[in-house]
Every structure is written in structure tokens, then in C-alpha cells.
């Protein structure tokens, strides 16, 4: 019950949660900061001042594993850009304010970044709770904003005309899973379940109609209390309803692992297709047998997946760069880091093409087309500020983790 908001802040938590050794992270970002400083110490090029970017990661606090992973990519990206001379001779200055996974700190930080620091653009926050509070304020202060959160409500062209998203929405995520089940695996009878959290229930309520619209037969749906230790009755009900696939939506590793354990104990050989946390190290650690992790597919992103054992050339090149820079992968995911680097490079491109005035930036962003990121291909229009393409939301095999990336789930036409 008194869970110190751990459960609460998992709402909309789109990412797998992995244990991060904080010292490594700190040394990583310290190294990044040091190299950033040395980059800035290079002789001032003309009288050009640095371009200030406000950055609101959650580096500490309950929901920080994603922020820490993304941060590695961001620091790396900015450092590389500055080393290569910056943007049109101007260095990029990251002004970092750790939100500590706390919306109140995020609000304070927004005020500082927009009013005092007068940043040209803000990247983040990385967690939904903070983003939900920060977005209206950033919009009010008329600063362009780029963020990687999944909650649908965060992007609204009318309310927040200067906010852009480089990641998929929750609807796209569900759509990707639904597409895999119905179109790739060609399964008709589907069981869709969730825990009783806001994220879980909202997901089910959105995804079930989407499935039905695709012609699938939703034979079972329920919101199950995550604390329930015995899921056998639920699974039996699904089985007798004829379900051919289970789609669970929850970020609670304990709950997800119990589903997998029960499935295994019953010897019921159906695929499990759903939330990214299915593939997290935490879920794995709670499995009773390692083979229970077979035939489990979770959301991922095409460009960060192994297809036939290989990554896309650009992704492979990026991975090699990371390894050369001695970035640890044991406790993070490739797509987090890639997302961070993409953000850095994307912002650099924006500044290069549009300068640092807000109206110009937004005008440019509104017509970005097929920007080739490592994490994803980004496209924006004046009516659509969600930049991630549907086609790149894919499912991956969770038991294939290598160097922070997974195999593409079987069956996709490549």
C-alpha cells in the first residue's frame, strides 16, 4: 500500500526498468560534463555565444532508470557535436536540471530554464508525470520543446503548438502490438489484461476497441490486482475462452512475471505480447524457470532490433561508437541511449537550419521529414507533432538481449 509512489510513478512508464549502477552513471555524466567543459574551453569562435538547451532528465528518484540511460546518449551526442566545432561555430550548452522524478521540481526547473537561463529549446522531461506538469508551462513561456514521453495527452497542436515528440504515443505502442498479433501472427482470439493502475486500465480501454476495429475477437478482458499472488483462476478463464494470445499491459514486473510463471506451470503454450517491461531484467529475475521467458514479445523499435542477427548499418556503427566510448550496456537499453543521441543531433540540425529564434525553430520543425535517427525516423507536420512512424513500432523477442538490444520478433516481412 504505502509504496512511496513507486507504483504511482510507473504510470505511463514506457520503458523497461533495469538496475543502473549509480556510480557508473555519475562517472559517465561526469566524464561527459568534463569533456563538455573542455569543449567549451576551446577558444571562443568569433563573438558567438553558446546555444543554450534546457534539459530536464530524471536522474535520481524512483523512475530514473530511463532518464539515466537517455542521459548517456544526450551527453555523448552533445559532446561529439561540440568537438566538431558546434553548430555554425556556436557551441551547444546543456543546462541540466535533475527533476528527481518529482513534478514539483520539474515545474521549478522550467521556470528557471525559461526565465533565468533563457534557453532556446527544452529537451525533456523524460517521465510522464513531470512532462504533464511541465508542458503547459513551457508552452506558456513560448519555448520550443522536444520530449520522448509516450502519454498521448502530451502533444496537442492547438494547446501546445511548440511541443514536439520524437517517440511513439501510447496509442502507437498498442497499435504496434495489435498489428503484430492480428496481422503478423494472424491470431484471432485475444485476451487483453492489465493491472488496476491508471496506466493499465487506460491502455486496455484504448487498445481493446482498436483490436476489435481490426477484426480481432477479444475473448477475455480484465483489470487484475497486481498484488494478487495467484493468477491461475484468471489464466484458466482465458484458456477456456479460447484465447490464442495474452496481451498484458502493466509496468509491474511482479505482476508480469506471475503471468509468465502461471502460463509456464500450466504448460499453456500461447505467446505473450505486450508492454516493454515484459523484457526487463526485473521480470526475468522473478521467473521461476528461464524457459518461461520464451515466446514473449514486447514493444521495441525497428531500428534498434537485430534482424537475422544483424543491426541496421547505421545502428551498428552507432553501437561501435558507444563501445569505443566505453559506454556500459549491462544495465541499460540501446534504444534509450540512441534516443538521447538522436535528440542531441536533431536539435543540432534544427539550430543549424533555423537559428535559435523560437518562431524559426518551430517553423522548421513543422516540416522535418524522414529525419534519419538511430532510434527512429522522425517526421513532423504542422498538424502532427508526433514524430515517430507507426511502421517502426515493432515487437521484439524478450529473451534475446545482447548489447542492450533484442531480436526482432519472428514473422515480420523485413
Amino acid at each position: 500500500m504505502l509504496s512511496d509512489n513507486n507504483q504511482v510513478s510507473q504510470i505511463g512508464k514506457e520503458k523497461t526498468t533495469m538496475r543502473i549502477r549509480r556510480r557508473q552513471v555519475l562517472s559517465g555524466s561526469a566524464a561527459g560534463a568534463v569533456s563538455l567543459a573542455t569543449g567549451l574551453a576551446a577558444p571562443a569562435i568569433a563573438a558567438n555565444e553558446p546555444i543554450k538547451i534546457g534539459y530536464l532528465p530524471a536522474l535520481t528518484g524512483p523512475s530514473s532508470s530511463t532518464g539515466v540511460g537517455i542521459n548517456r546518449g544526450v551527453q555523448l551526442g552533445i559532446e561529439a557535436i561540440n568537438k566538431a566545432g558546434g553548430v555554425k561555430g556556436r557551441q551547444l550548452e546543456l543546462i541540466v536540471r535533475d527533476t528527481q522524478s518529482d513534478p514539483t521540481k520539474a515545474v521549478n526547473a522550467v521556470s528557471e530554464l525559461t526565465q533565468r537561463q533563457k534557453v532556446s529549446m527544452i529537451f525533456g522531461p523524460v517521465n510522464s508525470g513531470e512532462a504533464l506538469a511541465a508542458t503547459p508551462l513551457i508552452a506558456r513561456d513560448k519555448v520550443p520543446m522536444l520530449h520522448p514521453c509516450w502519454v498521448d495527452e502530451l502533444i496537442d497542436v492547438k494547446k501546445y503548438p511548440m511541443a514536439f515528440r520524437q517517440a511513439p504515443t501510447n496509442t502507437q505502442i498498442g497499435g504496434g502490438a495489435n498489428h503484430y498479433v492480428v496481422d503478423v501472427l494472424k491470431l484471432k482470439k485475444v485476451a487483453v489484461i492489465s493491472d488496476t493502475t491508471g496506466y493499465g486500465t487506460a491502455s486496455v480501454n484504448t487498445y481493446v476497441p482498436m483490436l476489435k476495429a481490426k477484426g480481432a475477437d477479444v475473448v477475455y478482458t480484465n483489470h487484475i490486482d497486481a498484488a494478487n499472488p495467484d493468477l491461475k483462476p484468471e489464466m484458466l478463464r482465458m484458456q477456456s475462452a479460447g484465447a490464442q494470445v495474452i496481451m498484458p499491459w502493466s509496468v509491474n514486473a511482479g505482476f508480469l512475471s506471475r503471468i509468465l510463471n502461471t502460463r509456464g506451470a500450466m504448460g499453456w503454450d500461447v505467446p505473450v505480447v505486450g508492454q516493454t517491461t515484459l523484457g526487463s531484467g526485473q521480470t526475468k529475475a522473478l521467473l521461476e524457470k528461464p524457459e518461461y521467458w520464451n515466446k514473449v514479445y514486447s514493444n521495441n523499435f525497428r531500428k534498434c532490433c537485430y534482424v537475422n542477427g544483424k543491426l541496421e548499418p547505421k545502428t551498428q556503427e552507432y553501437l561501435d561508437q558507444l563501445k569505443a566510448a566505453k559506454i556500459e550496456f549491462a544495465d541499460t537499453l540501446l534504444w534509450w541511449v540512441a534516443l538521447g543521441s538522436d535528440a542531441a543531433n536533431l536539435m543540432a540540425d534544427i539550430f543549424k537550419n533555423a537559428g535559435s529564434k523560437p518562431e524559426d525553430i518551430v517553423k522548421y520543425m513543422n516540416q522535418v521529414k524522414d529525419w534519419p535517427g538511430v532510434y527512429g525516423t522522425v517526421t513532423w507536420t504542422p498538424q502532427q507533432h508526433n514524430g515517430f512512424p507507426d511502421s517502426e513500432v515493432v515487437m521484439c523477442e524478450v529473451n534475446s538481449l545482447k548489447d542492450g538490444a533484442f531480436n526482432l520478433a519472428p514473422g515480420y516481412a523485413s
Binding site: 504510470i11 521556470s111 506558456r140
Partner: protein, 600 residues
């Protein structure tokens, strides 16, 4: 030497220490700083300052609960949550039609008030730790409900906060709105703090038994405090939702609750300025020390530990220069019985208290085993006997702390109910205690004024808004208290903190407090214990004068000299029974009394 017509010497300026807007200068400076801040044009500082004002609106109310009433309400963030969601949901039309924003804010306050009482009621029955736990449990429940009740609260995704229209629109307009509300909250709670309600709260906190004897009814008072504090918390919640522009359940963390709570304790209990500064500091601190930000809760907790162990009085104690001035070393207590006429007023009829057939046992021990006792107005009735003979127990029965198993208690013929100590004040029955029960943290004058709490006429609301009747009450009470202090000979110590007084002085303070009730019956429980011979002599003179003014005096004592000196009647108890009763001469020579108690 006392002169008959010497006027009462006034003590130094600023008699009150509790709750007074101490250092009016500090408040003026703070106010000016707040008003002038927008001139700097730094909206970031504006955001932080707005947040500090919002936290203080809640904190001002919580200060009354924690600092004054001494209730450890750790989970008070629940009020913020309730107020925030109520205001946001109503203003956004999630629970029916859209409400006008200001009305929604008031509704937030109303919901906070209701639940403040709901959470607070257990405080009447539960001990400190238990109550702390229930507030924690409640805070979690509220968050869980916010998560679950998706239609109204938006569940995990949350809901947008209310936006106030011009002139309080987001930005500096809203800043001034919060500043204004913080100022009002400060003013109202300071008024309560320095009123008889504030003193009564502190009395309940530190000397509950004495508070009851002075007629203070704990339940009603606490309910009003929880109502006010809950309302302030709810309003703070609505403001918070607006500042955040969007609220989700994960914004209302346990850390925030701890912050409010610690801010008050750092500031010091029984003060307004201290907790305000404490809350301000804790709000601003994480912004200044950016690298320390994830250690902020750790630092708050460490600070709390340091305060508890080293300076329990907090910042307020540190700022209390007045009470660091050294006191005169060889102080004498010189009562002035001649003033009793003014203190006690007219005693039109002489009271008669009659105990008949009282039997009371604790488990197997017979504390009182068939007692008949009469206390007449105008007389000093001594009650003596060996330890454990039932003297104090008898006194406790009369003053309403114990219920006997048999027997009756009548005042002038009518029954006086057992076990209702706070009713005694209405009957003008006052008492002192075996160990002085005073509020150490309050001044001597405030302690005495506590005795007159029930004689005030103004309501809680009138005190809160400092309306004329409240101010009249205060004037009258203060005059009466100074008079009472002069009567017992302590008026020069009126503004001194009570815990700096000597033991003997505290005994006289208790008598002054009892005199505030204009008692028709005064019961004294071993008042001479710890006094010097000269002090006992003066005490005796005072007691005798009190009885000659018409009051019935019951004197429980061990000092035989004092008893035989001033008593008109003496009853001797032994093993819960009356061994002998009569005039002092009869008792002194009574054989059994001599052998059981007095010695040859």
C-alpha cells in the same frame, strides 16, 4: 513592605511570547520583500516564492495542529491532495458542470476542512504515536483513491490545474494572490495563537490535566483547529494545482509531507514567525544547493534530528532574546492579600461541598473506604494523613478525575457529576497540583491567563479575525491575570518563560492561575512542598486571606505547622478512612492521630 494603595506594577513591554507576531519588524521586512520581489523581474524567483507562499498557507494551519496543539500529524499532505483535486476537478467540470474558479477554490478549502476534522478526531482518543500512524495511513489512502477514481481525478494521467483569471492570472498576478492568501493565513493563525484558544491549545499540549481543571474542553477546541487547518490545507492545494498547471498523484509525495512537518518543527512550536521562516528555508534550499537535490530529504531528516536533540525549541528559541536576559538572583515572593477583594469579586453565597460515603478502590487496593467530608465556604479545611491514605485521591474525586464506586458529591445540595474535570470551572471550583503543571514554554502571564480561558466571550471566529469582542476579552483577561499575579507577589516575572522559574515560584503561579476562576472553592494539593519556611509563612497568610474572602479552601498538606496554623477544621485520613475530624487543637492532641501520623 507593601502599601495598601500601591498600583499594580506593569511588567515590561510585550508580555506575550506565544503566537504574538513577535518581531513585528521581521514580518514587516518579509512583507516588503514579498511585495518588492516582482521588481526584480525574475520569474524563476517568482515561482519559487509563490511555491513558498502556498506551502506556508498549509503550514500556517498545520502549525496550529503541530506547533500549538502538539499533534504529530505527519500525513497532512493529504489535505493538499484533497484540495488540489477538488479544485481542479470542479474547475474543469469533471464532477458535474464547470465551477467558477474561486468557488472551486473555496470548495477545495471546504473539503479540506471536513477531512481535517475526520483525520483529527482520532487525536482525541489516541496517543501521539497512534495518531501519527493514522495520519500516515490516511495520506496513502487519499493517494490511492486519487489513482483509482479516474473519472474525477484522471487517475494516473492526472488532470489539469485551475487557471485564475485576471488580475490573478499566471505569472505575477498569481504571485500576488498567493502572497495575499499567505498573509491572511499568517494573520488569522497569529490571532488564534495569541488568543485564549492558542493558549488553551498549548495548555492541552503541555499540561493537559491543568487545562482540564481550568475548564478547557479538548474536543471542541481540537475540532475547530482541525477545521481551520484542514481548510487552509485545502486552499493551499487548490493554489498548488494552479501553480503546477497539471496534477498527478505522484506529485504528492511523502517527502512533501515531511517537509511541511519539519518546517514547523525547525521553526519552533508555539511560534508563527519561526515556522514561516522554516517553511521558507526548506522550500528554497533545494534550489540553491542543486547537486544536493537528491539528498534533500536526507538533509531535512538530519536537520530534524539535530533540532530534536540539540535545540528542541527551533529557530523561535534562537530568536528569543528576551528570555535570555538573566533574571534577578535573589527573588522574593511577596503576596499581597489586600488585592484579593478585586481578584475574587463578591462571594455572595458561601459554597458547601459535601462528600458522603465515598468508596473507591484501584484493583485490590482500597484507596478511599467510606469517606464523609464537608468543606465550608469561608473556612480552611485541612486534610492530612500518611502517604497513601487517600488525600490526593479525595481531591481528585472532587475535581473530577476519579469516579468513586459508591457515594455522593454535592455542591450546595445539588449533585456534581463525577469524572468531568472541565465542568468544575463552571462551578468555580479551582485547584492546584502536587507537581506544578505549568506550560514551560509559555510566559508566566500566559500561564495565568490560561486559568481564565473559559471566561472569555468571543468565539473562535472572532478571535481568528481579531474582532472587537476578542480584543476586549484579551484586555480583560490580561488585566485580571496581572492582578492575580500581583496578589501572589509575582507580577515582576510576568513576561518570563515559566520554565525559568524556581519551583516555589511555580507553586504560586498555580495559585494565581486558580484565582482566575474567582473560585468559590479552592483545593490545594501540597502547596508547601519545596518551599522555604518564610515562603510557607507567606503562603499561609495568603491562603487564610482567600478563605476569609468567602472561598471554601481544602488544603491537603504534610506540613503540620502550616495546617495547625491556618486551618479552621482538620480531617485526618488513614488507609482511606477518616481517623479523626475536628478543630486543630482537638486533632493535635488526639491519641490515635499522634501515634499513626504526627508522632509525639
Amino acid at each position: 513592605m507593601t502599601e495598601i494603595t500601591t498600583p499594580i506594577r506593569r511588567s515590561g513591554a510585550g508580555t506575550g511570547w506565544l503566537g504574538r507576531l513577535e518581531g513585528k519588524l521581521s514580518w514587516i521586512l518579509l512583507g516588503l520583500a514579498g511585495l518588492a520581489l516582482p521588481l526584480l523581474g525574475d520569474s524563476y524567483m517568482g515561482t519559487i516564492a509563490t511555491r513558498a507562499y502556498i506551502y506556508w498557507v498549509l503550514g500556517a494551519g498545520l502549525n496550529l495542529v503541530v506547533g500549538y496543539a502538539g499533534q504529530i500529524a505527519i500525513g497532512w499532505v493529504a489535505m493538499l491532495t484533497l484540495g488540489a483535486y477538488t479544485t481542479a476537478a470542479l474547475a474543469a467540470g469533471r464532477a458535474g458542470p464547470e465551477w467558477p474558479v474561486y468557488l472551486a477554490l473555496l470548495a477545495g478549502g471546504g473539503v479540506g476542512a471536513v477531512f481535517g476534522v475526520v483525520v483529527g478526531l482520532p487525536a482525541l482518543r489516541l496517543r501521539t504515536f497512534y495518531f501519527a500512524m493514522t495520519t500516515l495511513g490516511f495520506a496513502t489512502i487519499v493517494t490511492q483513491v486519487a489513482l483509482a477514481w479516474k473519472d474525477v481525478t484522471g487517475g494516473g494521467v492526472g488532470t489539469p490545474g485551475p487557471v485564475f483569471p485576471w488580475p490573478f492570472d499566471p505569472g505575477w498576478g498569481f504571485y500576488y494572490f498567493c502572497f495575499l492568501l499567505a498573509a491572511i493565513a499568517t494573520w488569522m493563525t497569529a490571532n488564534i495563537g495569541s488568543s485564549r484558544y492558542g493558549r488553551a491549545l498549548v495548555a492541552i499540549r503541555d499540561a493537559e490535566v491543568a487545562a482540564e481543571a481550568s475548564g478547557i474542553a479538548k474536543p471542541k477546541l481540537l475540532v475547530m483547529i482541525f477545521l481551520l487547518a484542514g481548510a487552509l490545507g485545502g486552499i493551499a492545494g487548490g493554489l498548488f494545482a494552479s501553480l503546477q498547471s497539471y496534477i498527478t498523484p505522484d506529485a504528492f509525495t511523502f517527502e512533501m509531507s515531511v517537509l511541511f512537518f519539519i518546517g514547523i518543527l525547525i521553526g519552533g512550536r508555539g511560534s508563527i514567525l519561526g515556522p514561516a521562516l522554516g517553511t521558507l528555508i526548506l522550500t528554497v534550499l533545494p534550489e540553491i544547493a542543486a547537486p544536493l537535490v537528491q539528498w534533500s530529504t536526507f538533509l531535512y531528516a538530519a536537520l530534524l534530528l539535530a533540532i530534536v536533540l540539540v535545540i528542541p525549541g527551533g529557530i523561535a528559541d534562537l530568536l528569543d532574546y528576551k528570555n535570555r536576559r538573566p533574571l534577578e538572583q535573589h527573588r522574593e515572593i511577596v503576596p499581597r492579600p489586600d488585592l484579593l477583594g478585586r481578584v475574587l469579586g463578591e462571594q455572595s453565597r458561601k459554597m458547601l461541598i459535601a462528600l458522603k460515603g465515598i468508596r473507591l478502590h484501584f484493583g485490590g487496593v482500597k484507596a478511599i473506604d467510606g469517606l464523609d467530608l464537608e468543606i465550608h465556604g469561608g473556612e480552611v479545611h485541612g486534610l492530612i494523613g500518611p502517604n497513601g491514605s487517600g488525600k490526593t485521591t479525595t481531591l481528585n474525586v472532587v475535581s473530577g478525575y476519579y469516579r468513586p464506586h459508591e457515594g455522593s458529591l454535592r455542591i450546595d445540595g445539588s449533585h456534581l457529576p463525577f469524572e468531568q474535570p472541565h465542568v468544575r470551572a463552571q462551578w468555580r471550583i479551582a485547584r492546584t497540583f502536587q507537581t506544578p503543571r505549568v506550560v514551560g514554554a509559555a510566559s508566566v502571564l500566559e500561564n495565568v491567563m490560561i486559568g481564565g480561558t473559559v471566561q472569555g466571550h468571543g468565539t473562535f471566529a472572532e478571535s481568528m479575525l481579531s474582532l472587537p469582542r476578542h480584543r476586549l476579552d484579551e484586555r480583560v483577561l490580561k488585566e485580571a491575570a496581572l492582578l492575580a499575579l500581583a496578589t501572589v507577589g509575582l507580577e515582576q516575572l510576568a513576561s518570563v518563560r515559566a520554565d525559568r522559574l524556581q519551583h516555589s515560584e511555580l507553586r504560586f503561579v498555580e495559585i494565581a492561575r486558580a484565582l482566575m476562576l474567582r473560585p468559590a472553592c479552592l483545593m490545594l494539593d501540597e502547596p508547601a512542598a519545596g518551599l522555604s519556611a518564610e515562603e510557607i509563612r507567606r503562603l499561609g497568610g495568603l491562603i487564610k486571606a482567600i478563605s476569609r474572602a468567602g472561598t471554601a479552601v481544602l488544603l491537603v498538606e504534610h506540613h503540620a505547622d502550616l495546617i495547625f496554623d491556618i486551618c479552621d477544621r482538620v480531617t485526618v485520613l488513614n488507609l482511606g478512612k477518616v481517623l479523626a475530624a475536628g478543630t486543630p487543637e482537638e486533632i493535635r492532641s488526639h491519641r490515635e492521630v499522634v501515634s499513626a501520623y504526627l508522632g509525639a
